[in-house]
């Protein structure tokens, strides 16, 4: 039981994610989280404006159940399977974040400078959250997949489009982390 309560190492997590992917295919579906965003649009009535969203969203009900389960899993893990909220990131990362104005890095899962309610209620904080989400949603649908569909499934399946997409993920991620984040805080 103690093993469960400790943070899980990469060699535990990676194989479990692979099992999740396997099970979704075994159950006759696929592994891809960002397509749920399009389902949300369809449920919200976006099909009235854009034909692209005129789909029978009930066909994607299984995927909505998958993300509902992941919400439940997050609840279970954080309430019953975790003893500390600290994240053991490298000391250099903590130092680098302090240098760009993000304090107490690693003491909780998320920085207050982005995710606290107080930050959310400022214009700047709200904008950061919306823009971050917008980029993820727009980019994932343009590329036709996110970390699950492209990085895990696509690369496992030796797909060239996925390799290009993952290179793109890293170009964007490196530019944000090294050049843009230092300007924001």
């Amino acid at each position: 039981m103690n093993f469960i309560l400790q943070p899980w190492e990469w060699y535990v997590a990676g194989p479990i994610i692979s099992i999740v992917m396997f099970l979704l295919y075994y159950f006759g579906e696929r592994f891809g989280v960002s397509s749920n965003l399009e389902t949300f649009c369809s449920i919200g009535g976006a099909g009235k404006f854009v034909n692209y969203f005129k789909i029978d969203w009930k066909e994607n009900l299984w995927n909505l159940l998958f993300i509902a389960g992941s919400i439940a899993g997050g609840f279970i893990a954080s309430n019953y399977l975790t003893t500390t909220d600290a994240v053991a990131i490298s000391p250099q990362t903590v130092q680098d974040l302090a240098d760009i104005g993000i304090m107490n890095a690693g003491q909780t899962y998320l920085p207050d400078e982005i995710f606290s309610i107080d930050t959310m209620l400022t214009l700047k904080g709200f904008s950061i959250l919306i823009i971050a989400g917008f980029l993820v949603g727009f980019g994932a649908r343009w590329a036709g997949g996110c970390t699950s569909g492209h990085a895990i499934v696509g690369l496992s399946n030796l797909e060239l489009p996925s390799l290009i997409a993952v290179i793109g993920f890293f170009i964007g991620g490196l530019v944000m982390t090294w050049f843009i984040l230092p300007l924001i805080f």
Binding site: W8, V12, S70, A143
Partner: protein
């Protein structure tokens, strides 16, 4: 009832995302700073084992629980869609510190502000659909 299995797999996914700290903004920052092997180990080992799954699917050594063939749909080709879409996604991933999967897991952790990110992501998907025909693919 036929959907409950997806809910259960989702629970497993949510727990592993949470327990391995993949939902932590700091882990994503650390990854893009190349200051830890953690995220690379997770993604890398998931892909390596995933290759075995894909091999078994392709050779029809594993079928669905109902006995059907497993066909993994190929990704759409196109340099612009994959590279440019990928870059935008990467910018957002590093800013939000979360890709779509972890966003939902963070709701379960009780993070209210992640709902704004998810709303933004849905808006992003909507605008992609709106301007899809004007974008290079």
């Amino acid at each position: 009832m036929k959907y409950i299995k997806f809910f259960l797999v989702g629970i497993l996914f949510g727990i592993v995302m949470s327990k391995a700290e993949i939902i932590s903004w700091y882990r994503i920052y650390e990854m893009f700073k190349f200051q830890s092997f953690h995220m690379y180990g997770i993604i890398g080992s998931a892909i390596l084992l995933g290759m075995i799954s894909m091999f078994l699917f392709k050779k029809k050594m594993v079928k669905t629980f109902e006995g059907g063939e497993i066909h993994v749909a190929p990704k759409k080709e196109g340099l612009y869609r994959n590279l440019l879409g990928g870059i935008l996604f990467g910018l957002g991933w590093a800013l939000a510190g979360a890709c779509p999967g972890p966003m939902f897991v963070l709701i379960g952790k009780g993070i209210v502000s992640i709902l704004v990110v998810i709303f933004g992501a849905t808006l992003g998907a909507f605008f992609y659909g709106l301007y899809k025909d004007k974008l290079p693919h």
